[in-house]
Every structure is written in structure tokens, then in C-alpha cells.
Amino acid sequence: MNKAYLGIDIGSISTKGVIIDENNNILASSYIWTLADPVNAVKKLLKNLKQDIPKNYTVVSVGTTGSARRLIGIMTGANVIKNEITAHAIGTLSKYKDVKTIFEIGGQDSKIILINDGIVTDYAMNTLCAAGTGAFLSSQAKRLNIDVKDFGKMALNSKNPTKIAARCTVFAESDLVHKAQIGHKKEDIVAGICESVVNNYLNNVAKGKKITPPIVFQGGVSKNIGVVKAFEKITKEKIITDDNGHLMGALGVAILAKKEKEEIFDFDILNLDFETKGYECKKCPNHCEIIAIKKNKKIVDAWGNRCEKGSLI
């Protein structure tokens, strides 16, 4: 029996999973929408992966990353639970050994990771504001009545991109409405949005960071060819994108799981009954939000409390 390792990256918008062998080759992968229900998304993901995994492989270690990493980590009994920045860096380095800069734009966050000599030397992540992320792009696509998938291609048709304020989502949106109303062409506006995402990213997240090639661009937004071209136009560098770009976080955490203690992972958790419950502790005026996770009606973990009063375990 050959050993395999499972990595799950569960983000705000999409859930990604990969199974790799000992040489980091991807054996199976799956990419589905989270739909604000991480528990069921992971169940569905595991079902897909179970079908794809070759018969002679057994999963011996599990890693989780992404914003729901802790919840899913407990659910799957993960051996390693890592933040998405480290996971992305490690995943990307396994494929591109001499990468120096990683751009990552996801559903609700965007980050830049700088790498030197194969280690992360600096990173930044957007704070306080979700301007210029995937969520902004998809809401604007809906407003313009375009399928997100065609968004990038449409932007390529534009010869004269409309200038759209890049500072903040709210300003960008009102700017966009205004530009549409005074008669700018749809494809110009679409190209303008792509450029505004890039400008926003470079002015906020990547501010003061030295961008050196090779640059790898990842995250859901990297699938949008319009944004990729806008990046190339503005940074004047070649931007590398990867068909598996969206899987890098999951790949990274699977690689990290390799170093951990091995125990055979059972796909049977599909049949277990998981339930999560969030409530406010009323034992003091702080009202901590407590999350309890139940496996077969029994509390297996709970967090969110700031003192012992709210402890459930």
C-alpha cells in the first residue's frame, strides 16, 4: 500500500482539496463552492476525492488551511492546521523553486508573499477592507449582468479601459455606475474594473514591497485573464499563472502534513453527524461568541471564550 496525504483549503468562497503521493504528485483534486456551509462542503469534497483516489493508496495524514481551517481540522482529525500564507508559500515553492513573489487574490482577502532563498521573507495581507478581491469582482459582474467566467475574456476586447477609482469598493462601485450611465462601453468598464483591482492591490497590499520576478499569481482571481493582463501591463513583468493555481494552498498543507505523525485517515467521517453551533455566552457583559462543534451530538471542541466561565469542555 502506498502512502498518500490529504490537504484541504477551505476558503470563504471555494473549498479545495488535493491528495498527493510521497513525491508531491497530485493524485486527486477537487474544487467546489463553500456556499457558507463548510461542514457540508467538506463532506462533498471528501466524497469527490474518495472516488478519484487510486485504489492502492491510503491517506495517512491530513492538513487543513483557509479561514475555516480549525473547524474542518477538528472534523477531519487533521494532523496539521496551518494558516493560508504559509500553506500557499510552501505549495508554490514545491512547483516553482525560484519564485520570488507570490500574488494571491482570493474571495475575501488578498496577500503578497515575498520569497528569498526558498523561505518566506516578508508578506502582507489586506486589512480592514475587501476592496479588490474576488467578492468585489463577482458582485460587479452581477451588476453588469455578465457571467464571472466571461469577465476576463471580455476585458481583453477593450482597447481603451475606463478609469475607475481603485481606492475602495464603495467608491469604485459608485464610479462604475456613473461611468456606465454616461455611456462608456461595457468591455471598457470591465477592463477598467480589472485594472482597478490591480491598482488597488499594488497600492494597498503590496505597498512598499519590492516586487521581483519571477512572479506567480494565484487564487481564484488568477483565473481571470483580464486581471492577469492588467497585472502584466502595470508591473511590466511576466506573470506566471498555473492551471492548478487555486490548489496551491491545499497542496502546501498536504506537504506540511507529510512531516506529521501518520495515522490512517478514514473517509467514513462522511457518515458521521457533525453539527456546529454558535451562541453568545451570557455569563458576563462581554458576550463572547462561542462556537461548539458536535460529533454525533457530543461536543468535541469549543472555542471563542475569553475566560473559563464560557468553557464548555
Binding site: S67, K82, N83, E84, I85, T86, D117, I119, V120, T121, D122, Y123, M125, T127, L128, G208, K210, C284, P285, N286, H287, C288, E289, R306
Partner: protein, 358 residues
């Protein structure tokens, strides 16, 4: 005369020392305002101007809770930035809300002045003599200085069980707070330091310096217990900002600080910003692995030094993470960034050790 109750806003553990100090100089009842909770910051931000800095909102929340609790005399401390203008604005807001109270400032125009404090307290307690006030000020200074020293020690060490330090700390505060005899205070300090030294420690994984705005570095609630989080990762912490620095060391070293950081700054930058530039250089010299810079969202002096710190970070090759805090109540985002920062520092350190061994 009706029975008036004094209260003041929270910052870290200092309330335990301020309470007996105010009691002794005013001969009135002093009540510590209810501990900071999410409710405090909720009501604080409800009645504050939206774009005001975070400490203002916390202070205002404390005041409202204290007033509801029966307080009728409030104290504000004041400092060198917008902090110096908190008192008049808070007074207006609270009066508009219909509360009946008096508000006094301890520090006027950002300067600590004995005369000003004496005149202020005389308004409340006409029996106060200069000698008495001087004695009380010296006592509280010594208490705070010794307490801060013990805190420096525990921050630097990583205990095998983190609760051990905390348990001793609260006993220490309890023993120390009501002591008036200076010899006894010093004695208490040394006996507790021996207790601290007996706590079993392990080797810290990393060394991180915390710099930044004073309130967010001193009030753990405002940064989701940043220091405790770091301690859970076995990290030794150095933090310069504490009350003894603000009251004593800052005034002594302020001018030299600018000179020491002359490569990067030409003028003073307001509040603790000049110091923070110097501290960055110092932490690098002392071979710290990384720096965390905390500030309330929109803190002008600290925002002003961010580009300078970025430049130092590039030139001196020391990672700095900038964290802004506001009234949000979800700590997950901070935790993710912190975890990634620590991962990065550990990887850098491993690489350095590898290089050295080659």
C-alpha cells in the same frame, strides 16, 4: 456633603495602583470602573465620533459604565497627541448624555506637572498638603516602576506553564497595592521576584519586540491578548511602552532618542513615534527576530512612522508586522496574520542557523 465616588478609565493592570493613590490624596471613595468587555467598547463607540482613535472609545465606555455604577468624579490622564484633547471632548459628550459629574485632567499639555496635579486635587480635597501629595506620588511611582520591572522579566521568560506567572502576578499586585511604606514595597518586590525566578522556564523559540501606540500596547483587551497569544507560541517578548516609561524614562531620554535615530528622522514625530523608530533600530541591534507594531486604526503619529519603519525593515533586514485595531470583535484575522508571521520568523531563523553551520 454628599458622598462622591471617584473613577477612572482602564489601562492594563494599573487600576490597582491608581485606586489607593487616589484614595489617599482625596480621602474619598474610589471605585475601579467595571472591567472592559465588548459592551464597554460597544457603548463607547456608539457615543464617540466615528473616526476618533480607539482609546477614546474605550475610555468613554469606561466612563459611562463607571457613571452608571455610581461614580461622580472622573479622572483623565492625557498625553502628547490627540490623547491630550480627550478630556474636553469626553466631558462634552457625557454632559450631553445627561450625566452629572466632574472631570479632572491629571496631565495638562502633555507634560507631567506637580503644580497642576496639586491644584487639581485641592479643588476636590482642600486639606491636601504638598508634602502628602509628594509622598503619595513617590509611592505610586515606586510601585509602578517595580511592577513594570517584574513585568519586563515575565515577558522575557517563557514559563513551562503559562498560568504560573499569572497566578504570581495577581498575588503580587494584591500584596503590593495597599502598601505605603517604601521599604516594605521594595521588600515585597524582591520576595516576589524570587518567586518568579523559581518558575520553571523553557528556551524561547523566538524573540519578538512589540512597539507602537501606548494604549494598544498596554491594554491587552484592545489587541485580543496579543502577548498571551505570543506566549502560547513560546515567544520571548520585549515591550518598551509602560507607565514608568511614560512618566519617567521618556522625559529623560526624549532628546537623546532623536539623536540616536538621526539616520532616519530629523524632527520629533509626536507621541511615542520618535521612540518607536529608535526602538526598531535597538531591537535589530539586540538580535530580535521580528517586530510587531500595534496601533489603533488612524493613529496619526504611528501612521506617520510606518514608511520609516518599512525602510528600516528593508535596510536592516528585520521583519515588521503592522497591526491596526479598531472596534471589530473577531480575532481570527489577527490570529491568522500572527501565525503566519511566526511561521515566517521561524523559517528565517532555521535558515540563518543552517547558514552559520555551513
Amino acid at each position: 456633603m454628599e458622598n462622591k465616588i471617584i473613577s477612572f478609565p482602564h489601562m492594563g493592570d494599573y487600576c490597582y495602583f491608581i485606586k489607593p493613590f487616589l484614595e489617599n490624596i482625596t480621602n474619598m471613595e474610589v471605585r475601579i470602573s467595571p472591567p472592559i468587555t465588548k459592551k464597554t467598547i460597544e457603548i463607547g463607540s456608539k457615543y464617540s465620533p466615528d473616526s476618533i482613535c480607539l482609546p477614546f472609545k474605550y475610555n468613554l465606555g469606561n466612563y459611562i459604565e463607571a457613571l452608571e455604577d455610581g461614580a461622580s468624579i472622573l479622572f483623565q490622564f492625557g498625553g502628547g497627541c490627540r490623547y491630550g484633547n480627550y478630556a474636553p471632548l469626553q466631558k462634552t459628550i457625557l454632559k450631553d448624555l445627561g450625566y452629572n459629574f466632574e472631570l479632572y485632567e491629571f496631565i495638562k499639555n502633555g507634560k507631567f506637572s506637580f503644580k497642576h496635579i496639586y491644584e487639581t486635587i485641592r479643588k476636590i480635597n482642600p486639606e491636601l498638603t504638598k508634602g502628602k501629595l509628594l509622598k503619595e506620588i513617590i509611592t505610586i511611582f515606586i510601585k509602578i516602576m517595580l511592577f513594570d520591572r517584574s513585568e519586563h522579566y515575565t515577558r522575557k521568560k517563557v514559563a513551562k506553564d503559562n498560568d504560573n506567572f499569572k497566578k504570581i502576578k495577581y498575588k503580587f499586585i494584591n500584596d503590593l497595592k495597599d502598601k505605603t511604606n517604601i521599604f516594605k514595597i521594595v521588600h515585597t518586590y524582591f520576595s516576589y521576584m524570587r518567586k518568579y525566578q523559581k518558575v520553571r522556564c523553557k528556551k524561547p523559540k523566538l524573540k519578538i519586540g512589540i512597539i507602537g501606540e501606548l494604549f494598544t500596547s498596554m491594554e491587552p483587551f484592545s489587541t485580543f491578548n496579543l502577548e498571551d497569544e505570543l506566549k502560547n507560541f513560546d515567544i520571548s517578548i520585549k515591550r518598551f511602552t509602560d507607565v514608568s516609561y511614560l512618566l519617567i524614562y521618556k522625559n529623560i531620554f526624549h532628546k537623546i532618542t532623536k539623536y540616536r535615530a538621526r539616520k532616519y528622522i530629523k524632527y520629533h514625530l509626536g507621541a511615542d513615534a520618535t521612540e518607536n523608530v529608535y526602538r526598531t533600530l535597538k531591537l535589530k541591534r539586540k538580535k530580535y527576530d521580528g517586530i510587531i507594531h500595534t496601533k489603533p486604526f488612524g493613529c496619526t503619529p504611528e501612521v506617520g512612522i510606518m514608511p520609516i519603519l518599512s525602510r528600516i525593515s528593508n535596510e536592516e533586514n528585520i521583519p515588521i508586522m503592522f497591526l491596526s485595531f479598531d472596534t471589530e470583535n473577531e480575532s481570527v484575522g489577527i490570529k491568522t496574520r500572527l501565525e503566519a508571521f511566526i511561521d515566517m520568523l521561524s523559517m528565517r531563523k532555521e535558515k540563518e542557523i543552517e547558514k552559520r553551520n555551513e
